[in-house]
Symmetry: C2
Subunit: 157 residues, 2 copies
């Protein structure tokens, strides 16, 4: 079980976008974070496909958050990049082998699958409890105001 690297980048980008004034192109976001330009574009495309950000083409184009930061949860970003497929997929091995359970006894989901699904739900609930606005506020408490202004200006240069 491992989380994709692109998820971390995407969340950081959303936080930065929530503080930016206008559209920010992907190459600038990549340089801001010191990561690969081309691969970050892939994660941003996923965000765009999920409707979290909207993209404008041409000169002065870039990405903008589609909703207020307080209405975008971390879970939204994770699912957009990772996909919403459950981490655990029951293969119904209880129906295999010499003592396999007959299908009519398998109307209720496998107990193991139920436990896994419940745990994943807890994980999602926890991620959904934090929004991009919360993360941005935490960053704002640490970064000095003048530096934040300089960063905003650099993003809009």
């Amino acid at each position: 079980m491992k989380l994709a690297t692109g998820v971390e980048w995407a969340v950081h980008c959303c936080v930065v976008l929530s503080a930016a004034d206008g559209p920010v192109p992907a190459p600038r976001l990549a340089e801001f974070h010191g990561v690969s330009r081309t691969y970050l574009a892939k994660s941003l495309q996923a965000l765009s496909r999920a409707g979290l950000v909207s993209s404008t083409e041409g000169r002065e184009g870039g990405y903008v958050l589609n909703r207020p930061p307080a209405e975008i949860t971390v879970l939204d970003v994770v699912l957009a990049v990772e996909g919403d497929a459950p981490a655990f997929r029951c293969t119904e091995i209880r129906q295999n082998g010499p003592f396999g359970a007959p299908p009519e006894r398998c109307v209720r989901p496998c107990g193991i699958a139920a436990v896994m699904a419940q745990a994943e739900q807890a994980w999602r609930d926890s991620l959904a409890a934090t929004t991009i606005a919360d993360l941005a506020a935490a960053v704002a408490e640490i970064v000095p105001p003048d530096e934040a202004r300089a960063a905003r200006a650099w993003l809009s240069q």
Copy 2:
């Protein structure tokens, strides 16, 4: 983010072992579940390495649970097979780029990493709330007693 297939097999094996009378060899567990013999052995080795099961070699050998089923949580099995590495590893990209935060400002963990860690803790807590004994009890409610006896006998044949 995807959970390994071997995890599902390992949990099923633990439930079966909790109901077995004596040691059960890996090939029999594989046939019981209708899965690959050789690959299941790999997951069982992981369980053995983690100390959840103990193995006896030679004829009439096999695997036995090392602790009472009520003292083995699903989380124990998952961590034994998957490893206890956290799903999210912060790469500290906040220190990169033209506006990278200086190290002295990074004594506290990144807010994003904190959210991810908290979510993973919720996931682990949920998995730790269920034991192998709970799963076995749920199975016992569905399977008829005579069939359970037959399965136990087949495991000890």
